[in-house]
Amino acid sequence: MTRGFFACSAVTLFFSVPALASKLTIAVQLEPPHLDPTSAAAGAIDDVTYANIFESLTRFAEDGTIVPSLAESWDVSEDGLTYRFNLREGVTFHDGTSMDAEDVKFSLDRARGDDSTNAQKGLFAGIAAVNVIDPRTVEVTLSETDGNFLFNMAWGDAAIVAPESIDTIKTNPVGTGAFKFSEWVQGDRVELVRNEDYWGEPAALEAATFRFISDPTAAFSAMMAGDLDAFAAFPAPENLIQFEADERYKVLIGSTEGETVLSTNNKKPPLDDIRVRQAIAHAINRQEIIDGAQFGYGTPIGTHFAPHNPAYLDLTGNSPHDPEKARALLAEAGHGDGLTLSLKLPPPSYARRGGEIIAAQLREVGIDTEITNLEWAQWLEEVFRSKDYDLSIVAHTEPMDIGIYANPDYYFQYDNPRLQEVMSTLRGTTDPDRRRDLLQQAQTIVSEDYVNGFLFQQPRLTVAKKGVQGLWANAPTQAVDLTGVSWSD
């Protein structure tokens, strides 16, 4: 009898404790190629690792501001050239070794070294020296003042890694974050468990699983079937209405750093002629693209800058929808009898659908396009590396990335010394007002040069079960920060 009662109560207990409550299964669209954020551009790596596994000296908060992370505080010298970081006490890597100034020096030196494979080497270019003062103090000397330095140090690419685990970091990442890497089932999921020795507020979740679902239909079905607790950056905006109408789910709509542009090969004739680029800009009807490709989710932009940034200038007025003007400009450039351009599209629906809409809009002014749909690997090879394209559509998701226009080797192949000078002046400027002025100059230059067709700012669309709390609505950098996520009752 006693035993029966005991077993019975055990069963009750088992079911009354919400077994899933401290676990979360969240999906993202792309699987990372590996798990080292310091040696590849793939944003999918940061989705999994940023803040969860790896931390940097500083970090992005949800609203995009820079807050302390592994560095508790810092002192900047009078001339702005020396940053003295005071590291937190009691920080250990997941393998139990302590995180100290030597690890910071190692990480920064590795990222800026000649043989570095860091995808954002530019972030570290201004560093002249990294000196260990004592185990909890690091001094970074810059070659020239850099108003962006603390911002740069917040990137996932600036993660602090341990020299001991660097050889296997791609498959077994060892960081300092609130979650430890547990298992990676390739093609399916990455599993994380809570780091019980975390230096800060421990995560509310005991374990988290990242699943990778690239197909929008499969994403919708998996979410509707309840297999997933959340989907960060949901790929099918057309399905959001259904989630909003379903009381089991909630939809978060936030901002991202993703400027969606009609990438243009500025060196390839006839696109080297500004009149042709301007004609394309006037042929584009942004609202139609946002409605047709994004089902209304998105903010029109007229330059390569995020509208939620305080320095943003609304320059959509430089390129209003004006087919008449577009035709006139084409005629003036000698293409009055038509023109055929290639349009190479990566897989996301904003590109594929947006591409069809833009093709129709361009056709209206006499530009025919040959659409080719490419997989990501092909796109990176043909468009991004070989620059074998006329037009493409892609969202540039790095924060504050207008600097790519100052790089003439970037796949836009845009070479304008005036802009390059503005950007280099910006690097040496710390005064906030002056910086804003320079950023606005840069925005104006790329907008008035019609470097690309500026389409819209990607929204961050997240679908989650009602009980999930603390997910980021905004995406100030590519990240799915689970450290503050919990279940409500």
Binding site: P216, T217, F220, A236, E238, N239, I241, Q242, E288, D291, G292, S349, R353, G355, E356, I357, A359, A360, R363, I371, T372, N373
Partner: protein, 276 residues
């Protein structure tokens, strides 16, 4: 008995369905109710009825116009693919049957090899090498058709080669090529027509399948398969986006199969013998 050569129920139904699509395809060359690629984003996903008989898609394009133009793509791809299959397969089969030696072995083993690859794999291979387009879809489906016709031709021709009238022709001094062309081919033509109709329906399906996975006709060329693929995430919001191209594919394939069945009833000598 008089029933043997009369048009059957299945033949009539098939013929009506197929001509419906053929007429739609032909008309779409000169006229469609709306501009096929003309987008009207503000009128997107309209339910069937009113100005748009079959509704509009997610870009506000007229579904009826797209189905008509899509029929053109489908039928053109299927016709040319069957044409390729016949043009290459029939002579190969005739040659194999006439020779019966190493050439026969060579042709038929090469056929077996081609048959061993699933059609879709061949198609993916071709489009992976040469890039996706309607032309490459035609080639892929056409290649798959060659062994089908080669086998059928050889089998039918072999049984004819043992017949007395062929012997008579040989005695009269006709060569293998002439006999094949003048005596064998006319006698197996009915078989080929029936098989052609069946392959035609498979071609329509294959084109839809290839376009569905993105390997067929590229936008903005309308295609039923791509209409289906585009509607995938929208089924819950606007079911007609999937139903309309889905029904077009079903009805055209059903029509072609019924037509093929009916033709076989009318033309197949074996069935004719039984009935008369």
């Amino acid at each position: 008995m008089s029933g043997g050569r009369r048009a059957s129920w299945s033949f009539l139904t098939g013929a009506v369905l197929v001509s419906l699509f053929a007429i739609a395809a032909l008309v779409s060359v000169i006229w469609t109710p709306h501009d096929v690629s003309g987008m009207n984003i503000s009128a997107r996903m309209k339910a069937p009825g009113g100005d748009y008989l079959l509704g509009t898609d997610h870009f506000g394009r007229d579904m009826l116009s797209m189905i008509m133009a899509g029929a053109q793509t489908s039928l053109a791809v299927a016709i040319i693919a069957v044409g390729i299959g016949m043009a290459a397969g029939v002579p190969l089969g005739l040659a194999a049957a006439a020779n019966r030696g190493w050439l026969d072995e060579l042709i038929m083993r090469a056929n077996d090899l081609a048959f061993a690859f699933p059609a879709l794999v061949i198609a993916i291979l071709i489009t992976a090498v040469f890039g996706p387009s309607a032309v490459n879809a035609i080639i892929a489906i056409g290649i798959f058709n060659i062994p089908v016709f080669a086998r059928l031709t050889r089998g039918a021709a072999l049984s004819l080669w043992t017949r007395e009238f062929i012997l008579a022709a040989r005695v009269a001094g006709k060569g293998a090529v002439r006999i094949s062309a003048e005596h064998i081919l006319p006698n197996i033509a009915n078989l080929l027509i029936v098989q052609g109709t069946i392959q035609f329906s498979l071609g329509v399906l294959a084109e839809a399948g290839l376009s569905y996975v993105g390997l067929g006709a590229q936008p903005p060329t309308p295609s039923w398969g791509r209409m289906l693929a585009d509607s995938q995430t929208l089924v819950g919001l606007a079911p007609h986006l999937a139903l309309v191209p889905g029904m077009a594919i079903i009805l055209s394939v059903l029509g072609l199969n019924l037509l093929g069945d009916g033709l076989r009833d009318m033309l197949d000598p074996k069935l004719r013998v039984v009935r008369t």
